[in-house]
């Protein structure tokens, strides 16, 4: 025999002694489907749906057409690395200390340091990086290199289009990292 409580109809929490009224959540049910009322409601909902889609049509597309248009990145976006020079003297900031290579969890940075010759200085410090390579096919873009660097010589840029058909092309040398990126990545403006 099924009681009303078991059917879920006219459920009275007081009838079930072990349930306190706080445990009972009242459920709001929609109207029963079918019948004239159901058809009327379905018609109304259909009109509401038509209104919704028409509003989307009027708003216009939100697509960013990627190869032509790029998604703007945030200022702290970690993209391709950049090596920096002093703007006034033109000397490289990197002194070849290899702290970035030590910090790198993916072990993708290779630095070979060399002594500066007094007449032909490359960097501002005693030594400079004769070889500075980042293997971007291994880099995980964590940004630890930029945190480890004591001279802000390496920072993460905003470029993210680095795909290539050949892995050897993804080992970026010092010259490539010092050069300005060919295409600028747009930055998100304030509050965007």
């Amino acid at each position: 025999m099924s009681t009303p409580a078991q059917n879920g109809e006219n459920f009275d929490p007081k009838a079930v002694a072990y349930l306190s009224s706080a445990d009972v959540v009242s459920v709001q049910r929609g109207p029963e489907p079918g019948g004239v009322g159901g058809a009327y409601r379905a018609f109304g909902e259909t009109l509401r749906g038509l209104k919704t889609t028409m509003a989307r049509l009027i708003e216009g597309p939100l697509t960013i057409e990627y190869p032509e248009e790029k998604t703007p990145v945030y200022p702290r976006f970690r993209g391709r690395h950049k090596l920096h020079k002093f703007e006034d003297t033109g000397l490289e900031k990197c002194v070849g200390c290899s702290l970035c290579a030590a910090a790198c969890p993916a072990d993708c940075i290779r630095v070979v340091a060399a002594e500066n010759i007094p007449g032909d200085r490359v960097s501002a410090g005693e030594r400079y990086a004769a070889v500075y390579e980042i293997n971007l096919s291994r880099c995980i873009f964590c940004g630890y290199c930029e945190i480890a660097c004591p001279f802000d010589a390496i920072t993460m840029g905003h470029d993210y289009e680095m795909a290539d058909y050949d892995r050897s092309n993804l080992i970026f040398t010092k010259e490539m990292l010092l050069a300005e990126p060919i295409e600028r990545t747009p930055l998100k403006s304030e509050g965007e």
Partner: protein
């Protein structure tokens, strides 16, 4: 001239004019069809905050050329256990029915001794129902002859769909027929000189459009195709241009249903301006209704098969009957 006693027509003209008219109607309609495919895809995109196809040609207008080129270059294969003649007949019947139905769409009145319509048959609407139903033979035969369970299910569904909306569709147009006093579409347009029939026959218009969605196998009544659960239903085993002709027919049927609805409810070619604008007005009204088709497709999900049947038999049919009853009383009283 050899007079064939096949059928009465309300307006007779020379044979070469008839041929010329058919060529022009063909050229216009088959010019619109590819544009319609790309317009639909672009509009659906806009309804979903997208652009739609815009890679082939400026704004993607050459997309239909690319599509047709792809379809033509594909192999017209046939499954091993398909019934060959019926399999080939499948896509042909809907094309024939769609082209036949185009003949009665009125593009304008008789101007300079030429009626701007394919033919004005006095049985007008009955002709539309007669040839419109032939299309479903194509669907059912094609689906059945494919020898595939998905195709068979799609074919069964299209048969079930046909019987659930066709009655309501006919009854919806009966109100207009009673008000205009003629089955001919040209007479129906003439009867709308004062007020378009969409005003007194609004219920009939809604029922006709709902049934029209089912007639053209469009969302929300595209159960025979149902790409999600039946992998295109009756079209599953078709490829190449045979598949293409099924698609073509879908758009042609949309144009036909829009044309019938525009002539019966929206005043046909009536519009401001000189009389040579009449076909343009008709086309504008048709394209407006085509937009409604696309709008509904962008909005509504597919109904379940039993839901369409209960809608057709329990809602549309009584509503259409009531509509006829009220119309009949009003026509007799006034």
């Amino acid at each position: 001239m050899l007079a064939l006693p096949l059928a009465d027509v309300n307006f007779v003209e020379a044979t070469w004019i008839m041929v010329l008219k058919s060529v022009i109607i063909f050229a216009v309609i088959f010019g619109i069809l590819p544009v319609l495919t790309v317009v639909e895809r672009k509009l659906i995109g806009r309804f979903q905050h997208r652009y739609g196809p815009n890679r082939v040609g400026p704004f993607g207008i050459l997309q239909p050329l690319a599509d047709v080129g792809k379809l033509i270059s594909k192999e017209s294969f046939r499954p091993a256990n398909a019934v060959s003649t019926l399999f080939i007949l499948g896509p042909l019947l809907p094309v024939i029915s769609g082209v036949l139905a185009l003949a009665i769409i009125p593009w304008g009145d008789v101007q300079d001794g030429v009626g701007l319509y394919g033919i004005d048959v006095p049985i007008g609407i009955l002709y539309f129902f007669a040839v419109g139903s032939i299309a479903f033979y194509g669907l059912v035969l094609g689906g059945w002859a494919s020898g595939s369970k998905y195709s068979l299910l799609g074919a069964m569904r299209s048969a079930a769909q046909l019987i659930s909306y066709e009655v309501a569709m006919g009854l919806a147009l009966l109100g207009v027929v009673m008000m205009s006093g003629s089955l001919s579409l040209v007479d129906a347009v003439h009867a709308q000189g004062e007020v378009w029939f969409i005003v007194p026959q609004f219920v009939g218009f809604l029922i006709f459009m709902l049934a029209g969605f089912a007639e053209t196998n469009r969302t929300p009544f595209d159960m025979p195709e149902a790409d999600a659960e039946l992998v295109q239903g009756f079209m599953t085993e078709y490829g190449g241009m045979r598949f293409g002709s099924f698609l073509l027919v879908e758009y042609m049927e949309i144009l036909v249903v829009s044309g019938i609805a525009a002539a019966m409810f929206l005043g046909g070619w009536m519009g401001p301006g000189p009389s040579f604008l009449d076909p343009i007005w008709m086309l504008v009204k048709m394209l407006g209704l085509v937009f409604a088709f696309i709008w509904v497709r962008a909005t509504l999900p597919r109904l379940r098969y039993d839901q369409l049947m209960s809608l057709g038999w329990k809602v549309l049919l009584p509503l259409a009957t009531l509509n006829i009853l009220v119309t009949a009383i009003l026509v007799v009283v006034t």
